[in-house]
């Protein structure tokens, strides 16, 4: 096994002269940043709900009746998404990195399995409900806004929806790869 001992010595010969200087106050601030970053998605979704509902309640009675089903459905689907985001944050916090690697891998696998369920079942359903609710509002928009504004709403939303679908389709195989790898090992 002499060759492995050579490899080991080569490996341990790697030294890192540019070791970053330790700044404990930066470390503390990075910790609070990380906590804050996790809340970005739920906050954005929450603001969107607030905008949708404010828009709805500012409408005159006639428009309110026409818009209410679609907008409430859109808000409800976003609200469900927020609940899953919060669940995801709580579960990630529960992943204890000080556990033995086998136990950690087991809890990570469980977590990813549920995420898989969310990716394949919940998210597509939520997105479909949101898009269908939006489509149901298009005739109302067509009658009540200018043609230019209508075209803007139609095309910008189409681009956003397609973008979101592409992002989802790309992110799923990454998680599946690790999940399958871990399944093989456990």
């Amino acid at each position: 096994m002499k060759s492995f001992e050579d490899l080991k010595s080569n490996w341990q010969g790697q030294k890192f002269e540019n070791k970053p200087t330790l700044d404990l106050s930066k470390l503390e601030s990075k910790l609070s940043h990380l906590k804050r970053d996790q809340l970005i998605a739920p906050v954005i979704l929450g603001i969107t709900i607030a905008i949708l509902l404010t828009f709805l309640f500012l409408q005159p009675k006639a428009s309110f009746e026409l818009l209410k089903n679609g907008l409430i459905l859109m808000s409800a689907s976003l609200f469900i998404r927020i609940l899953f985001e919060i669940w995801s944050i709580l579960e990630t916090t529960k992943l204890n990195p000080t556990l033995e690697v086998n136990k950690f891998a087991l809890s990570l696998t469980k977590f990813i399995k549920t995420r898989k369920l969310i990716h394949f079942m919940v998210t597509p359903i939520i997105m479909a409900i949101y898009i269908l609710a939006f489509i149901s509002l298009l005739p109302v928009f067509k009658l009540n806004v200018s043609d230019g504004m209508y075209q803007y709403i139609l095309w910008s939303s189409t681009i956003v929806f397609i973008g979101l679908i592409i992002i989802k389709v790309i992110s799923i195989p990454k998680e599946l790869k690790l999940l399958n790898e871990m399944h093989d090992e456990l």
Binding site: W11, L31, L95, T98, K103, L108
Partner: protein
């Protein structure tokens, strides 16, 4: 000295003692990509800082640190795919080039292992005793011994090819 100062002193000591080892483990996980490994190493030390108060001394502190390092790398894999091996630095002298090439080859070979074997061999490369590796991984000493023997053979063969 108050509790907070004690924590700072202990943490600084751990950082100085373990930085190179943690960095090499992270490098092994990310196919030798220096920038990603640096970020991961930083993340490992953030977690060490965050959990240091909860360390119960049931195991050696190095065992605890390597657990955090491996688990952080495992979690990182969830968000990564196809990490490319960086190109060698230019203008090196001949023996440095040979050494760099060998280490690069090691990264590539390590990257072909599944994540459990990858973790085990990265710890073995750091000369961590097999009993401690078993405690880090949550496996029996015997299982670790057998695996290490097998991976060593494969790795030596692949790198020397």
């Amino acid at each position: 000295m108050n509790k907070s100062n004690n924590k700072n002193v202990l943490f600084t000591q751990l950082y100085d003692e373990h930085y190179n080892k943690v960095m090499r483990i992270c490098l092994g996980y990310v196919n030798g990509n220096n920038e990603i490994a640096k970020d991961l190493t930083q993340e490992v030390f953030i977690k060490i800082w965050r959990h240091l108060d909860n360390f119960e001394a049931k195991s050696k502190i190095s065992t605890w640190i390597f657990r955090i390092a491996i688990n952080t790398c495992l979690l990182y894999l969830r968000d990564s795919k196809n990490i490319k091996t960086p190109k060698p630095s230019s203008g090196s002298v001949e023996d440095k080039i040979v050494l760099e090439a060998r280490i690069r080859k090691m990264y590539e070979c390590i990257n072909k292992l599944d994540s459990k074997n990858k973790s085990i061999i990265l710890l073995e490369l750091e000369s961590i005793p097999q009993k401690e590796i078993a405690s880090i991984m949550g496996m029996t000493h015997e299982a670790i011994r057998v695996r290490i023997l097998r991976i060593k053979k494969t790795l030596s063969k692949l790198v020397m090819e």
